[in-house]
């Protein structure tokens, strides 16, 4: 019995230790972002005189003074928002069509779409650069930034699976009442698939907020950078000030954190059967 208890305590202690190890780097980021410049150089030893150091938001102010941060974060929001919004309709419409409606050559087409999932974006990066950046002259252009991501084979596949699992009753009832397929897709299927769609939107948001390779390729102006690329440049921008760099990092993280926390609750609350209950 005591052995069992011991085991439990051991597990708890290990778990908490792991948790601390996991969270420390992020805490360090926040801590450093609040430190005055001269204290950053003391590293961890600065903790010793933690109570005499004045933590401040000066580093955050410095970031705004040194680079056009509003610009950067605005572009990032626009980038992720556009992809998520366009993707929401484009992908779900396609998925719905493949789940419910007759399409000439549908099976072959869908197999093809599924096959596209395996092609990594890295393979497409160079031709996309030559096509969009060089031929269409979309360097440093918003269209060039989001176009490659408007449709996503994986999301189509994922949403179709979800649509297939939904009961057909509501749609059939609407069909009898002479509603068009577009109406049914928009006002019945789409709301029913909310959990799956929100999942797609969150995944898209996280992926594209952190997107690195393509924004790096398609921009060569410091005024046209997403937060990730901006950070990458900011952290080698002389003079190197770690406090400022960490402040930038914190600010580049907060939007993602917020949106995730907000939407996550949504996922838990919505339920696939809600539509039928009403």
């Amino acid at each position: 019995m005591s052995n069992k208890k011991f085991n439990k305590v051991l597990l708890l202690v290990t778990a908490i230790l792991l948790g601390i190890i996991f969270i420390t780097p992020l805490l360090w980021m926040v801590y450093t972002s609040l430190l005055p410049d001269e204290e950053v150089l003391h590293g961890i030893l600065s903790i010793k005189n933690l109570f005499s150091i004045k933590l401040s938001f000066q580093n955050y102010r410095d970031v705004f003074n040194r680079v056009p941060f509003f610009n950067t974060i605005g572009l990032t929001f626009l980038f992720t928002g556009t992809i998520a919004t366009i993707g929401l309709f484009v992908n779900s419409a396609c998925a719905y069509a493949f789940a419910r409606l007759p399409i000439p050559g549908g099976t072959i087409l869908f197999t093809l779409i599924t096959a596209l999932i395996i092609i990594p974006f890295e393979t497409l990066a160079i031709p996309l650069f030559l096509m969009l950046g060089v031929k269409c002259n979309l360097m440093n252009n918003f269209a060039g930034l989001f176009l490659p991501y408007c449709a996503k084979a994986f999301n189509i596949f994922f949403l179709r699976q979800y649509f297939l699992l939904l009961p057909k009753d509501l749609e059939e009832a609407a069909r009898i009442e002479d509603a068009s397929w577009y109406r049914i897709y928009f006002s019945i299927a789409l709301p029913l698939a909310k959990p799956a769609i929100i999942t797609c939107v969150i995944l898209d948001f996280i992926t594209h907020w952190s997107e690195y390779l393509w924004p790096l390729i398609i921009s060569n102006k410091s005024t046209f950078e997403t937060a990730q690329i901006g950070l990458g440049h900011f952290y080698t921008l002389p003079p190197i000030q770690w406090g400022d760099i960490m402040a930038y990092s914190v600010m580049a993280t907060i939007p993602m954190l917020l949106i995730f926390t907000l939407f996550q609750r949504h996922i838990v609350l919505t339920n696939a059967t809600e539509g039928l209950k009403g």
């Binding site: 597990l11 778990a15 792991l18 948790g19 996991f22 969270i23 780097p25 992020l26 360090w28 980021m29 450093t32 950053v40 590293g43 961890i44 030893l45 484009v90 419409a93 069509a97 493949f98 409606l101 007759p102 399409i103 000439p104 549908g106 087409l109 779409i113 596209l116 395996i118 092609i119 990594p120 890295e122 393979t123 497409l124 990066a125 160079i126 031709p127 996309l128 650069f129 030559l130 096509m131 490659p148 449709a151 084979a153 068009s180 397929w181 577009y182 907020w209 952190s210 690195y212 390779l213 390729i217 990730q228 950070l231 990458g232 952290y235 960490m246 990092s249 580049a252 993602m256 954190l257």
Partner: protein, 299 residues
């Protein structure tokens, strides 16, 4: 009357019309570039030949031939495999352990779950920068802690044999939370009765895991391993930001080579050959895994 015709036409072809935007974009943004990559890889397309088309030549397989004898590229492949071979099992194992620990509703479990997951929603670029500070040989906290324990300060990212290990550690730390979530979702699907039955037979937590949880998570595990492997192969942000592939190529990866060939050297033909080779590697690995994994896990 005419309106009705239009309506019925629209309704009859609803499937096509609803799917056409996505199909069109996929065609333009995936299929066309893919074919272009394939074609470009057989030419010497470069900045030079783009600015002066006279230099453009079809060079056959010479890009591939020179890559496969290029030691720098082979080093990149080797590093990428090394990274993958270490990250995939360690990360998956750790994630499974976490999932078992935080499966439950106690407050400490919720807090732990969040702290494991936080690195996932912090972007890789941010984390790379944060770890560069943590591992900084002179002002980084890790070296300070080491010196308090009277261990010699380590060069970490500036040393050939430590740099990749640092990147591996940080990548495992970053991604484990995501796999943990996938495992948790998989565990929710396991019927409670199975655990109840096990409880009647007084099985230990380990036995629970060994004979109930783990076997029933087989499909989840396969999925996690597959996804992690492909992600691992794409290793780019960390070396690009932290080490630029150095010191001495120790953290050079396939995608970093691709990036450097294309956007630093301006050799698009050669870079396209790398991207096609990369595709072949990813394809092969996922096919092999799909066929091999179930057997291994059964035994």
């Amino acid at each position: 009357m005419k309106q009705l015709n239009v309506r019925s036409f629209l309704d009859r072809n609803a499937g096509l019309i609803l799917s056409i935007p996505a199909l069109f974009i996929l065609f333009l943004m995936v299929i066309v570039p893919f074919v272009m990559a394939l074609v470009t890889s057989f030419t010497n397309l470069s900045v030079k030949s783009l600015l002066n088309p006279n230099h453009l030549q079809i060079t056959g397989v010479s890009n591939y031939a020179s890559l496969l004898t290029d030691r720098a590229f082979l080093t990149a492949i080797q590093n990428t495999f090394f990274f993958t071979v270490l990250v995939v099992p360690l990360q998956t194992g750790l994630a499974l352990l976490f999932a078992v620990i935080v499966k439950g509703t106690a407050l400490w479990q919720k807090v732990l779950k969040t702290s494991f997951f936080l690195p996932v929603i912090t972007s890789m670029a941010v984390l790379s920068v944060v770890w560069t500070l943590l591992l900084n040989p002179s002002i980084g906290p890790i070296n300070t802690i080491l010196s308090l324990l009277s261990i010699e300060p380590q060069p970490f990212l500036t040393h050939k044999s430590q740099a990749m290990l640092c990147i591996i550690t940080m990548s495992i730390w970053q991604g484990a939370g995501f796999q943990m979530m996938v495992f948790l979702a998989g565990m929710q699907a396991i019927p409670k009765q199975l655990y109840e039955a096990a409880a009647i037979e007084h099985s230990s937590p380990w036995q629970n895991f060994r004979y109930v949880t783990f076997p029933l998570l087989r499909n989840t595990t396969i999925f996690v391993i597959l996804i992690t492997t492909i992600f691992a192969f794409k290793l780019f942000i960390q070396p690009h930001l932290i080490t630029q592939g150095g010191p001495q190529n120790a953290t050079m990866t396939i995608i970093l080579q691709l990036y450097n060939q294309a956007f630093v050297n301006g050799s698009y033909g050669k870079a396209s050959a790398i991207s096609i080779l990369f595709f072949v590697i990813v394809l092969t690995v996922s096919l092999v895994q799909r066929n091999l994994l179930p057997k291994e896990i059964k035994s």
